[in-house]
């Protein structure tokens, strides 16, 4: 995957349909493949519509509820670390594919980072679709060879005495980082804690801090 993909000017061969505001060649291909499969009764239009809704319903807010629960409930945290998928399902988060989920706990000794070097495998059921930078070459190529330098580009400096562990996702096994609970949050409610947990903290490129949350306490 090269940087070209975000530079290319969508100059598709079929000028007739590539003019501004008109669907491009690949959009036509997507619709044609879908309609042919529906005509052959291999898939149903309703399934596509429903799956678009499922994709829209998955955001990092789901992962944040999982993390906040783990922070306040040690028994849940144990179950989450033992079987990530089962523990998320316990909270009503369905997995719409047959992927497994391994939750990696950040501690004072270990900082975890997730990547998919081959493509873009990501814990979609709990975080939604990955950001573009996660799918592009610099992150995929470098996260496994110089994670500290990559983290520094995100503004995250991990102390030398903390081990950095990088987990490379696969089609069947996805990872989610359980960030450390920030200091000074002892009196926070579960909901207030969840507001401190962002997408980047669960990928492992940033720590959760009192300032990371989208809502002010």
């Amino acid at each position: 995957m090269g940087p070209q993909e975000h530079d290319h000017d969508h100059d598709h061969p079929d000028d007739e349909i590539a003019q501004a505001g008109r669907p491009g060649y690949y959009e036509v291909m997507e619709t044609a493949v879908r309609e042919l499969l529906i005509e052959k009764r291999l898939i149903e239009a309703e399934e596509i519509r429903r799956q678009v809704e499922v994709l829209d319903s998955r955001t990092p807010a789901l992962g944040a509820t999982v993390v906040a629960r783990a922070w306040v409930d040690p028994a849940f945290k144990s179950r989450l670390l033992a079987n990530g998928r089962a523990a998320c399902e316990e909270l009503g988060i369905s997995f719409y594919d047959d992927t497994g989920l391994i939750v990696l706990e950040n501690t004072g000794q270990v900082h975890n980072l997730i990547v998919c070097t081959l493509c873009s495998c990501y814990p979609r059921a709990v975080l939604g679709l990955p950001p573009d930078w996660y799918k592009l070459k610099p992150y995929r190529a470098r996260a496994v060879i110089e994670p500290r330098a990559v983290l520094a580009e995100f503004g995250t400096v991990v102390p030398d005495d903390v081990e950095v562990r990088v987990s490379d996702s696969t089609a069947m096994v996805r990872y989610l980082v359980l960030p450390q609970r920030p200091a000074g949050t002892d009196d926070y409610t579960e909901e207030q804690l969840a507001a401190l947990v962002t997408r980047d903290t669960m990928i492992g490129v940033a720590p959760a801090t009192i300032r990371t949350g989208s809502t002010v306490r």
């Binding site: 042919l36 052959k40 678009v52 081959l118 070459k137």
Partner: protein
Amino acid sequence: MSQTEQLLKRLPNDIGGEAAGPIQWVDRELEPWEKRCHALADVLDFHKLINTEEKRRGVEALGAEVIGNLSYYERWIAAFANILFQKGILTPGELARKMDEVAGRWQAESTGEDSPPARP
């Protein structure tokens, strides 16, 4: 290692550990057709027509030049078409005819020549 040895040992997707530039700190909302393409991938997986690993290999089989020039979901739909041809589920001629029909329908719709069914 010679350049051709490198080509054999590392397929286009296998970039972990390679040198690369700074993190490209970009993100954007998907276009509607890209989201439908993603939903199509999931539905193909549900029906065991194309699973995630076949999809990844299908993208790899497009080759480095195509991979380098197409965007993420452009690669996906191109790979799906090829895999469906290989499995005998679709034929290239069938897809070409359907694409002409879809393009013609949208063209007519945009020029208001007809009242074809609404786009999904």
